[in-house]
Symmetry: C2
Subunit: 233 residues, 2 copies
């Protein structure tokens, strides 16, 4: 009765969400079928379907044919993390962005890296610093697979970060991401104004074009950095 006239599928989504949050439909509860809800809300079944499917995508509901739709027992976290493009991230914080290349070489990958890139051929190794208001914000340590991206050989990466150059020139289909806490290496620590061994937030990414590796990058963030997000909201 509270939400009498449905305005659209989002209104239905909101009302269903309200009932879930209010525990009118507690976790595990099987909610009415699409037809029943369509009658109640005075709309077509497809409209209810749209609303429920969106909630299922978010992990709030679980749907199975014939069995019906139930409230997820663990309506837990499906957090959407926006992995930021570094330059944009810094700018959005209202800080001045700057970038400095500190190393560029072609080298043979060690065992660990060879496993990650799935090649033992020489790869392009790049190290760079991204600064916010002149202070190191994140260190980029990147290996680029020259079998997959031979054009990288002719790029200096002195003005344009490899991050952005790759994004705009090289196709990819998949990225593996890993977030962890690491001890600052002897090499990285001084750049971040830290003693070696201090905790640093680290993002590792391997980028793939189908089955071929494109690049492997380790981003080491300055202390104080935290990745924030919201569930629900």
């Amino acid at each position: 009765m509270s939400t009498a006239q449905p305005a659209g599928w989002q209104a239905i989504q909101a009302e269903v969400l309200r009932r879930v949050h209010a525990r009118e439909w507690p976790p595990g509860h099987v909610i009415p079928g699409e037809i029943d809800l369509a009658v109640e809300f005075g709309c077509a079944r497809a409209t209810v379907n749209r609303a429920l499917q969106a909630l299922a995508d978010e992990g709030i509901l679980e749907r199975r044919r014939k069995a019906g739709t139930r409230v997820a027992k663990f309506p837990v976290g499906r957090a959407v993390l926006d992995i930021p493009v570094i330059r944009q991230d810094i700018k959005e914080r209202g800080l001045a962005y700057d970038y400095r290349l500190s190393h560029r070489s072609v080298a043979e990958p060690d065992v660990d890296l060879a496993a990650r890139l799935r090649t033992t051929k020489p790869a392009l190794h790049i190290r760079a610093v991204h600064l916010a208001d002149g202070i190191p914000f994140v260190l980029e340590d990147r290996w680029i697979n020259l079998q997959t991206v031979p054009q990288a050989k002719t790029q200096s990466f002195e003005d344009l970060s490899a991050n952005e150059w790759l994004l705009h020139t090289v196709p990819y289909t998949k990225i593996d991401v890993s977030l962890s806490a690491e001890a600052a290496s002897a090499e990285d620590a001084p750049l971040l104004g830290l003693a070696p061994g201090k905790p640093v937030f680290t993002i590792e990414r391997t980028t793939w074009d189908h089955v071929a590796s494109v690049t492997f990058v380790t981003l080491t963030y300055a202390p104080g950095f935290a990745l924030r997000t919201q569930i629900g909201g």
Copy 2:
């Protein structure tokens, strides 16, 4: 021509994705309108709409009325992180789960916590250890707002973790999540078999029911833990 007969909206999504990945439609490119694509794929416009909308939700495409649909300039990271329910997480790793309550008290929040919970009234403080195959996997340090959740007073939390009890009994509408690297505290370090100051991966969560805080929890993970996810794929 390659994908001639469309099977459904997912087939269309796949073909559009292929063209984006293959740079047939490079970043920033305005792709054909829904009607054109519907003709090309021999299906209804609604089917194309479903496919394109799903890709827009994932951040691959950007859509604006009248302006049309274009490939996102930064088809970057919209990583879906599944914040795990601890017990399930451990079980999925094929390890035996165990749980031990180590502290339970009612105390007044300090300034920092009062700001997080938005109350200065006494709150329930709980510390517990989640073990995998008998080894500490994650430490849980939780404060429960007793204004919002008075029922928590009568719960011992000796057998059932606060994590799961809350999930099943208390309504919530929003969770703030923060991921960071911290130095292991003098209190936590020995439990994880670490020297104080060593890096530990930390998840902080504040749970809200509308504007009222429900609980604030800090999860401190054992070394070696990494949160993994995938973009694309």
